[in-house]
Amino acid sequence: MTIIERPSTEVAIAGAVPVGVKPSEALGVFKRPAASSSWRDWVVTVDHKKLGIMYGVAAFVFFLIGGVEALLIRLQLIAPDGKVLNADQYNQMFTMHATTMVFLFVMPMAAAFANYFVPLQIGARDVAFPRINAFGFWCFLFGGLFLNSSWFLGGGADGGWFMYAPNSSTLFSPSHGVDFWTLGLQITGIASLTGAINLIVTILNMRAPGMKMMRMPIFTWMVLVTQFLLLFAIPVITVALFLLTFQRSFDATFFDVASGADPLLWQHLFWIFGHPEVYILILPSFGIISEVIPVFSKKPLFGYPVVAMSGAAIGFVGWGVWAHHMFASGLGPVSVTVFSMSTMAIAVPTGVKIVNWIMTMWGGKLTFAVPMLFAIGLVTQFTIGGLSGVTHAVAPSDTQQTDTYYIVAHFHYVLFGGAVFGLFAGFYYWWPKMFGRQLSESIGKWNFWLMVIGMNMTFGPMHILGLQGQPRRMFVWTEARAGEGLFNFGFWNRISSIGSFILSIGILLFIINIFYTHKMKKGALTSNDPWDARTLEWMTDSPPKEHNFDVIPQINHLDEFFHRKYEQDSATHSVTQVHSADEVMAELNAHPDEHIHMPSRSYWPILLALSLPVIGYGLIYNRMLMAVGVAMVLLTMFGWAMEPATSPDEDFDPPESGDTHAKELVPHG
């Protein structure tokens, strides 16, 4: 085990005075890791910005894996009697595709943005629990790797992403795929739960002075709603996954129909989690484009309180609609009516948001930079997906559409056309802030248009396929039964498959854009405020310093940064720029804070997270290994508990006398 020594103090080198044992060293197995610029620093970091970047990179890699899985599915269906995959592999492919995209791409990518930008947007220097934040990231990464390791250990899960019982029992799914799935999601669930607690406390408790709730940027608002949804939805899926694990590994009877069990129990538990989950996926993207659209329209967000409150309303009503996933299961007329109506009701706050975005653009000075294009892409495509969603609220129509490609079309329009486009808007919008270089606009436009064309070609025809009755998980089609004319299965499946390749070229262009910008140093070095933005995260350097702000600003307005740059003439309502961004920052940073103690690096988060897959493998293969994992959890928790989050004051250098600009004190290790 590598032990990084703390750099000794001068006193210790001289050996003149014996150095007292510091509380942080006395009981720990390791000394605290020191600051360094090597890869080690990324392993032990608790900095929310570094963790945000790591979340982003890992999630993007999983996005590519999930994308390859999707392409294999489309290759299988491009021609009649597809031979690319057999039925079993096809089952694994669509299950792992959906699981990867939902749990290992969209959720952690939203967490990446939330981690990076929420503290910046509320004027904080880090999150409330920095080590728990690091722990969450490592749980997500190890959980995702654990889940995907099933590919090499007998095949992935094959029950579909909602893993309906009793199909998920060992009788129907004898490989270990489902075990990896339940345990892997359990581990990533810990990441979501700890992340939720962390971000909620950060947002509620660590706002800069003067930043009332109704002065928070809308992205922070949407993250707050999302994290509350996670806080209450994750434990429900945790229960469901535990029950399934008990059933598969310990022969419990929860979903065993022969013992009188009710398979609907799984459906209820899953969808009580699963429906808030879809808002967990989309709300962060709503937040991102609510930042992007005002900036590129040169107008404040239309109806800010309405946008914030409609987000909260979605959060509440989102709990009362889960059974619309189960209309075909025979719930009875009362349940169907209630859930049908609540589902129609939830379209209202969503529609309100769409109106607000359009009204923000209305009459604005629009610039169609790439972030704005992606934001408009979201508004348009999400509206289409939302409208097909409303058709699901109508139970008789939904009963026809259940388990057809119409459903696939619907949720890809909201998730890909909506959530993923929002995330891409975020990439292009915040890239200059995160890395100091602007992504190429010209490649970005190609990226956008190929994605729009590819996405609509892939998922648009699925509406037709679904209404024609192509089942959702059909793994092969034959020419003889494909139908004729405009409604020929083969024709639309071919279009859809070609579309998926256009889509992937679009995404490839994003990767090319990153290399073009950074490796070839083509991207323009940006100023701190390249878009003339409105919110606090732009009121600091690009990329931000480790402590985010030299001075925590006093907040007097919604869109504080905008109000420091511009003044409005009360008579004519015309807005004039009075300060440049650099002037605002120079004024703010004239008297920087001293004695900023940032949270200290730690080994414990990664070690604790590492013990969880050990328990997982132990549960599947060897119970002794499980005991080792549990022992590791207990030991690391003790180490964690004894270590203060921020090194005690005596670990930091005393400020050099007379040097008032000693802004940041580096701890000894």
């Binding site: 629990f129 408790n205 660590m206 002075p209 806080l231 434990p235 929860f254 900023i596 508990a641 989050a645």
Partner: protein, 204 residues
Amino acid sequence: MAESAIAHDHGVSHGAHASSTGLSNNKMGMWMFLGSECLLFGGLISTYMLYRGRVSSGPQPNNIFDIPFTSVSSFILLMSSLTMVLAVSSAQRKDDRNINLWLTITALLGATFVGGQVYEFTAFYREGLGFTTSLFGSSFYALTGFHGVHVSVGIIMLIALVGMNRNNRIPGDKAEVVELIGLYWHFVDIIWIIIFTLVYLIPS
């Protein structure tokens, strides 16, 4: 504002500007966690309630529960909430010796409860109710077992707290750390009141 928002992790030692809401980060975090736990037990209790009336083979709830025995162990668990309050109160008065005393008693009462649960499980198993016997068996053991694990984790935290307190190794504000573990402990007790009522007292 020199000490920055980050310093909150130390607890209240940094003065009045600690947080936007006035509640410390740690305490708010614990409340959020307990809120989440409600849904965890909600799911398990729902599972039990769904299956309690089902006709199934093996022993039935009515002829297996020993209500007087479980009432006594429930009483012991509830008394541990009282001793926990006394521990928190000593911590707020900075009375170190009594902190350790009351924490230890709380842990012992908790351990008695868990011991009672182990005895009860063994007795039920001898009477033919295994984890895999029936829906009742699976859902009963899952629900009460999860609760037992929560009590056990609480006991580990209490013992660790006593050990750390004796060596003066509790980071941050001691009274708050004791209070946080107290919050968890009371939560687990309240959950038991619900479980005891729904599972044992209301006949199926």
